[in-house]
Symmetry: C2
Subunit: 343 residues, 2 copies
Amino acid sequence: MLEMRNICWRILCNRSFSSSVTPNCFPLVSLDRPHDIWHPPPTPHYSTHQKTVEIDGKSIANDIKATLATEVNHMKNSIKKAPGLGVILVGERKDSRSFVRIKKKACEEVGITSVVVNLPENCTETEVLDAVSALNNQESVHGILVQLPLPCHLSEQKIINAVNVEKDVDGFHPVNVGNLAMTGREPLFIPCASRGCIELLHRYGVEIIGKKAVVIGRSNITGLPTSLLLQRHHATVSVVHKFTKNPEEITREADILVSDVGVPNLVRGHWLKPGVVVIDMGSTLVTDSKGSHVTGDVCYEEAIAKASLLTPVPGGVGPVTISMLLCNTVEAAKRAYQWTEKS
Amino acid sequence: MLEMRNICWRILCNRSFSSSVTPNCFPLVSLDRPHDIWHPPPTPHYSTHQKTVEIDGKSIANDIKATLATEVNHMKNSIKKAPGLGVILVGERKDSRSFVRIKKKACEEVGITSVVVNLPENCTETEVLDAVSALNNQESVHGILVQLPLPCHLSEQKIINAVNVEKDVDGFHPVNVGNLAMTGREPLFIPCASRGCIELLHRYGVEIIGKKAVVIGRSNITGLPTSLLLQRHHATVSVVHKFTKNPEEITREADILVSDVGVPNLVRGHWLKPGVVVIDMGSTLVTDSKGSHVTGDVCYEEAIAKASLLTPVPGGVGPVTISMLLCNTVEAAKRAYQWTEKS
C-alpha cells in the first residue's frame, strides 16, 4: 500500500513539476545542468571515511578565467567586439572601492572592457539613476553593476530596478529573481555568489538532486538566491534565519550546507553531519591575536574533522563569485551580439 | 560561550534582515502583518490537548466578501467608480469554465464589474496577447486574470509576462514573484491561494514567526509563492518535492504544514506531528464508492486525530482563495484611483 502510494506520489507529482520553458532563440543560463562551456571531469563522491577535501576556489576561478579569456579573444577576432562591464560606485567606502578594484582587475585579465562611474557619497538619487540610464544606453556596455551597499539616502530598490534587465549581471533585478524562483523560467542572470556555489558543487562532483540542503541566511544578494537555485537543482531546501528556533538541529540534517550571515565561527563542529559538504559564504574582517584577517561563518578547525568537502575563507567562494560576474558579462555580450563560439 | 554565540547570532544577523522598504506614496500589500482592512480577534493557540478545530473557509470568505462589498459601495458612492476584473478564458475545459463562472459570481457579490474574454481552443498566441493588451489599456479594468492552464501551443510565460504588472491580480508576473521573494520588497500582488493561506493562519491566531513550516509541492501557482510568503513571515521553511528522499520524516517536523500536489490522501496520519496546523491546498476530483467528490492531499480521517487546526476539502482554502482574488482586484482599483476609505 505504501509502495503504491509512493509510486503514485512520484508519478502524479510530475505534472506539478513539468517544465514549461519556452525555447529561446539564443540559449540562456541553464539551470538544470552545469553550463556548456566547461566540461569538468566528474570527480568521485565523498564519504565519511575520506579525509576532508578543501575546495580550491582560486584554482577553479583561474580555470574559468582562462576559458573566458579564450572566448573573449575569439569574440574580438570574430566580430571585433569586446564584452563591457559598467560599474557604479557611490561614496568612499574602503571595502566597496576594494571590491570594485578587484572586479576591474579580473575584467582586464579576461579582456572585458570595464568602466567605473564614481559618484560622491552625497550625490542625489537622480544622479545615480542618470548614471544607470547612461550605461543602459551605452552599446559597448553589456553588464551593469551597482556596487552595494549604497548610502542610506539612496533607494537601492529604485536604482537596481532601473538597470536594464538584459544588463543586470548581478541578477538582483526582480524579474531575474522571479524567473530564478519559478520552475520552467530562465533568468537572464543568476546572482554571482549563488552561481559560484553551484559551480563549485558541480566541479567537485557533488550530486544536488534529492539532497537535503540547508541555507543559513536569506539575504537578497546571497542566501535567498542560493536557496532558490538549490531548489531549482532539486535539492530539498530549508532556510535557517534569525527567527529559527533550533538552527543547530536543522543544520545538522544538511547534506549540503551553505552559510552566509557574516557571523565568524557561528557554525560549530557539532552543527555538522559527518560527510556534509560545506560552502562557507561568510566573510568578516576580524582583528584578534593573529592580526586582521577574513573569517567565514563556519569554524574551520572543527568543520575539517566533519565535512567531506569544505570551502576555506578566503580562497573558497570569493574568487569563484568574481569569475561568475565575468561569465555573466560575457554571456550578456554574447546575447547582445547573438554571437557564439560556433558563429 | 554558547550563550554569547547565540546573542552574537541574534544581534549580528539583524543586519542581513533589516528592511529596506522604500516608503510608498500609496500603501501596498503588507507582508509583515495581516492587511489593515480586517481586524480579526486573536484566537487562542492550540495545543495537542485540544480537539482538532476545522478551519471554516466558507465563513471567512463570506466575512471578507461582506467587508469588500461595503468598501466597493463606498468607492462607488465616493468616486462613482467600481473595481473591474478582466478574465481571459481560452478553450472549452470544463474545470476552467467552472472556475471562471465561480470567480464571476464572486465579483458580482461584492460589486466588482467583470468581463470575460472567451477565445477558442485553437486561437493563436497573438490573439491572446492582443486580448491581454486590450485589457491592459482598458481603464475600467484594474485586474487581469488569464485562466490557467492554457492550451499547449500557447506560451504561458509569454502571456503572463504581457499582463501589466499593476493589473496582475494573480501575482504570477515575475516582477511580483521576485518582489515577493526578496526581503524588504513589496509585490503589488500576492498569489491568491498563498495569500489565502496566510489569511487563514492569521484569522485562527496561528503564530508563524519562528515556526517550522513545511510546504509539499513547489508549483509556481501555489507551493512556491506560499513557501516564499511563509518565509517573509519569518517561518523556517522547508520545501518537499518529488525528489525529496524522506518526505514523511521532514513533514513530521512541521508546526505548519501546507500541501499542494494534487495527490489524494498523500499525507497520512503518521506524517504529522501532534498539534500541527494543516492547510490542505490539494483539490482532486475522485470517483469512488461515494461517487464523484473533491479530495485534498491530506487524509482527513487520520489528520483529524493529530492536527490542532485543519482545513477541510472542499470548504477550506478554496473559498478564501477566491475572496483573495477579489481583495487583489479591489486593491488594484484603489491604487489606480489613489482612493482609500478615508479619502
